[in-house]
Amino acid sequence: MKILVCISHVPDTTTKVKFIDDFKKIDIAGIQWIINPWDELSLTRALELKDDPSNGIQSVTVANVGLVGTEPTIRKALAIGADDAIRVNADPKDAYYVAAQLANAAKSEQYDIIFCGIESSDYNGSTVGGMLAEFLGYPSISSVSGVKIENGQAVVTREIDGGKELISAAYPLVAIVQKGIAKEPRIAAMRGIMMARTKPLKVLEPVEIDSLTELISFEMPKPRAACKFVDPENPRQLIELLQNEAKII
């Protein structure tokens, strides 16, 4: 069986974002790019599954929609342990556009499990995984915090309000993952970094498709008013403020 992990190339999560061109574009100067944290965890879990030969996983492929600038991020995924990679050579216009490109890339092979992160840390859309599943006509399970393989099926843990569900699912399947899927992201070892240079990275040209939304401009959040400090000896003051000024308790 084969696994596909969709990876998004995003600014490091501590980045203080700035915008240029009249707030139309993010200023990429000095940004450190990383694999979207969720996707890195999905990849880790996919590789853990592959490590156990009884799971019968032949390959773990990563796919990204992005221009050539995302290749270092893709190579990082290969260094961590993915077997090969696909890059769809296009500037991601919106989630619909990205999902359509990924669906087209995924059609070239029979992938049994496709992992997507619950969101990318840049656009916070929480949309690509569900759209991809719909484009492919596959079932999807969202809020996934665990995936195992038992008797030729995926056994998936899904987080629900106040609890969990254990679900068995036939392939193919899109798993939209969140916290818990893997403990810590796997780190690339020196050997992996060397090997990554020669692993296959296929570049696909995009299919023609219109985006459905357009990002017009960014705005910065309004600065919060300065914090009011209360005497640590007298937290009753805090209660009074919450009651009379904020009116929330």
Partner: protein
């Protein structure tokens, strides 16, 4: 024309977020001078359905079929898409919770309808249709134009005020198809803790970080939560250490919440933590370090040792509650 509001129910009951969503969808219907139609899937009794009228729905559709026992994103999508078609929906709104996040993307593809996810305000403009959404985990916002005839929006929880109305909604029960042949997933087991206030639903959240030093020191946090009817939360290292359960972890990689009050105790306020809590109406911080970044996000703060401040705070709350 209509605005279609997909309202989730939990064993036949609605929650505050359901009413926020109906208030929101009804306002959009007003902006478009059209009808607000709420739809919920699975049996709900009439008294409960009527509540949706009290938040502005003109019509309430209860889609039923005895086969509907579990959530299945493909079947739910087909049902909603069917009504969108029949009612000529121009805008479809859902909650930005796990159910909404599972359905909205599928509907977007099914109906070729542009999706604005996690919005917190009414559309800024109708023609072109533009919405405002949080990006970069709360470090910025984006203005997005949805270009398609049908627009889909998912509303962030606790971001829109309830707006009451005196409408008596027209309620109807509609038998829908429920296709089990395509169901390739099977729920084998459900583990649920009953009676706990859900972090994502709570109005008040009391949260502890590494500054709490040890799981043994959580007593006053639990007591405060109990007194205030609050949910408890924690920073990531706290759940990683096993001091608190994983489902309490808030932040970029944990739960994203927007309570009225978030009390952060011994939490430094790293960007990844703030990513999950910055939409809270009020943030209050207790921290020994006056330069901790959490104070830049907080409206009220106490510079002090949690071990000393918390017992006094518990006393003050007890007094407030007359206990």
């Amino acid at each position: 024309m209509s605005v279609l509001i997909f309202v989730e129910n939990w064993d036949g009951k609605f929650k505050k977020l359901s009413f926020e969503l109906v208030s929101y969808g009804s306002k959009i219907a007003e902006m478009l001078a059209t009808e607000a139609i709420a739809i919920t899937i699975g049996n709900v009794d009439n008294a409960e359905l009527a509540k949706l009228g009290k938040y502005g729905a003109d019509r309430v559709i209860n889609a039923v079929n005895d086969g509907i026992q579990i959530f299945d994103s493909q079947n739910f999508t087909s049902i909603i898409a069917g009504f969108a078609d029949k009612e000529n929906a121009r805008v479809i709104v859902l909650s930005n919770n796990s159910t909404g996040k599972a359905l909205a993307p599928r509907l977007s593809v099914r109906l070729k309808a542009g999706l604005g996810s996690g919005v917190s305000k009414l559309p800024a403009n109708i023609e072109p249709f533009s919405v405002f959404k949080k990006v970069y985990s709360g470090n910025a916002f984006a203005n997005i134009v949805i270009k398609t005839d049908i627009k889909i929006l998912t509303l962030a929880q606790n971001s829109f005020e309830l707006i009451e109305s005196d409408k008596n909604a027209d309620i109807s029960q509609v038998l829908v198809e429920w296709d089990t042949s395509g169901l390739k997933t099977k729920v084998n087991e459900v583990q649920k803790q009953e009676g706990k206030i859900l972090l994502t639903d709570a109005d008040v959240v009391i949260s502890g970080g590494r500054g709490m030093k040890s799981s043994d020191n959580w007593g006053p946090i639990l007591e405060l939560a109990d007194l205030l009817g609050a949910a408890t939360a924690c920073s990531r290292p706290v759940s990683d250490e096993g001091w608190r359960p994983h489902d309490e972890h808030t932040g970029q990689t944990g739960k994203i919440i927007a309570p009225n009050l978030y009390l952060a105790i011994g939490i430094s306020g790293a960007t990844q933590h703030l990513a999950g809590v910055s939409s809270s109406k009020f943030i209050v911080a207790i921290n020994t370090d006056k330069d901790a970044p959490i104070f830049s996000a907080a409206q009220y703060g106490i510079i002090g040792d949690a071990g000393k401040v918390l017992p006094k705070l518990v006393e003050a709350v007890k007094e407030l509650k007359g206990k």
